[in-house]
């Protein structure tokens, strides 16, 4: 099958790649662009380990064709830290020990970023519903929620200072 040429923006930089029509965005990110932070858990949109943000919307990259990314702006876990500094959400996941094996963590952090972009001050219930599509099979969710709410408080503080 003829490969398709796809032009996108990934974490702020122009990125081009070739993909077969049946290649998912997740596979293109991992295999063509070398961005292996996004994980394949279920491959069917249930677990959220492959979460990325496309044109401001949180999506499962395993349920999007790479060809659909033409002209789109994509944010992945690799784009969160800047200049060697962890993003506050990443830092809070460490401080709260909100991970164990870490396989679900990139997806949870990207989903959390999308939450805090849309709602800087979520309630615990809002955070739990927002993250219901991200499954963790070892740590559980309590520490994750604490980390997200703590990161939200810190980001609000940073905004006030700035």
């Amino acid at each position: 099958m003829k490969k398709l040429h796809v032009s996108t923006t990934v974490n702020g930089d122009a990125a081009e790649f070739l993909a077969e029509p049946g290649t998912t965005l997740l596979d293109a990110l991992r295999d063509e662009l070398g961005l292996t932070g996004s994980k394949e858990g279920c491959g069917s949109g249930d677990c959220g380990a492959c979460s990325v943000i496309v044109d401001g919307r949180l999506v499962c990259s395993c349920l999007m064709l790479a060809a659909e990314a033409e002209g789109k702006r994509i944010e992945t876990i690799e784009g969160l830290a800047s200049h060697g500094e962890l993003h506050p959400i990443q830092q809070k996941f460490l401080e709260h020990a909100a991970l164990q094996c870490g396989f679900c963590t990139p997806g949870l952090i990207v989903a959390s970023k999308a939450l805090l972009d849309a709602n800087p001050d979520p309630s615990e219930e809002e955070a739990r519903y927002w993250l219901a599509g991200n499954l963790c099979r070892c740590t559980g969710y309590d520490k994750v929620i604490r980390a997200v709410l703590d990161a939200a408080a810190e980001l609000r503080q940073e905004r006030r200072v700035a």
């Binding site: 099958m1 398709l4 077969e20 029509p21 049946g22 290649t23 998912t24 491959g43 069917s44 949109g45 249930d46 959220g48 979460s51 496309v54 919307r57 949180l58 999506v59 499962c60 349920l63 999007m64 064709l65 060809a67 659909e68 033409e70 989903a111 999308a114 939450l115 519903y129 927002w130 993250l131 219901a132 599509g133 991200n134």
Partner: protein, 289 residues
């Protein structure tokens, strides 16, 4: 995933041509059903036609008469964020937003939900109750059909080769009219309806029901528009007697399957219960408008 030709047409004409180019070509909107089915090998289309670049396929537009056009490929997240749609059609918006996770809401559309033709599709009973009309485009041009004309059976639609649903039209909403959708699932999130019930109604000045439409999901091979259940509410206030008539009419319409999600008896009983509760919510919303 099996390979296929990917086409992303930018006009209705190109999209119809693309769909006609390969037998069994499939329409791609959000992909949350289609891509899963292709990965599992349950469908192997020779061509996938991504219709999201076709003008009209994405977006919620409020018309000058107060009605709405909703692009059939509009993701649930866009539907939920529209500034007035949830005020005028709260039941339709809550039904569309119940589908899947936040990630799924970033992609999944009502057009896909309808044309995937699952009996348990959440947005479809709400579309039925709203008396939504589908704008269908195809090799014969453009036609309109009531939303209940699309599902033909589990996984099957009545759309002809080359046709696809471009948008949904919702009628203008009078004052003192509203809707509601409820579904039963054993969990709080991320599950498939055991039963779904959508109710839309409009009230007279004195608070009696002037018009009512009731639709049920997951209790028959396709979503059901239960005319007798709507009629049971018309002509009076929403009192216990009216709710009893609604409950009985809803149960009488059910022909569900027995499966791991629920037995025939359970689904039938719950259809009546959810119809009552959805009607009660729709009524109080209508009174408040």
């Amino acid at each position: 995933m099996p390979q296929f030709e990917y086409l992303a047409p930018a006009s209705v004409d190109e999209a119809v041509k693309a769909l006609m180019s390969a037998p069994g070509a499939r329409v791609l909107a959000g992909g949350t059903d289609l891509i899963v089915q292709m990965k599992a090998g349950r469908t192997r289309p020779a061509a996938v036609v991504d219709v999201k670049r076709v003008p009209g396929a994405i977006g919620v537009r409020r018309e000058s008469d107060g009605g709405y056009s909703i692009g059939a490929a509009t993701p649930g997240a866009d539907i939920g964020e529209h500034p007035t749609l949830a005020r005028d059609w709260p039941g339709l918006v809550e039904a569309a937003n119940l589908i899947g996770s936040t990630q799924v809401q970033g992609r999944a559309s009502m057009g896909g939900n309808l044309c995937n033709a699952s009996p348990a599709a959440d947005s479809v009973p709400a579309l039925f109750a709203a008396r939504a009309v589908c704008v269908i485009v195809g090799p014969g041009g453009r036609r309109e059909a009531p939303v209940e004309a699309i599902q033909a059976g589990p996984g099957r639609t009545s759309l002809q080769p080359g046709e696809f649903v471009l948008e949904f039209r919702l009628p203008p909403r009078p004052k003192r009219a509203s809707d509601a959708y409820l579904r039963l699932i054993p969990r709080t999130e991320m599950d498939i309806a055991v039963v779904g019930a959508g109710v839309s109604l409009a009230l007279d000045g004195d608070g009696s029901v002037a018009e009512a439409h009731v639709a049920l999901g997951a209790v028959a091979p396709t979503t059901l528009l239960v005319q007798a259940a709507g009629q049971a509410l018309v002509g009076g206030r929403l009192d216990e007697a009216a709710l009893d008539r609604l409950d009985a009419a809803a149960r009488a319409a059910c022909s569900p399957i027995d499966d791991k999600r629920g037995t025939i008896d359970y689904r039938t009983k719950i259809a009546g219960v959810l119809a009552r509760r959805a009607a009660t919510i729709a009524y109080s919303r209508a009174e408040a408008r």
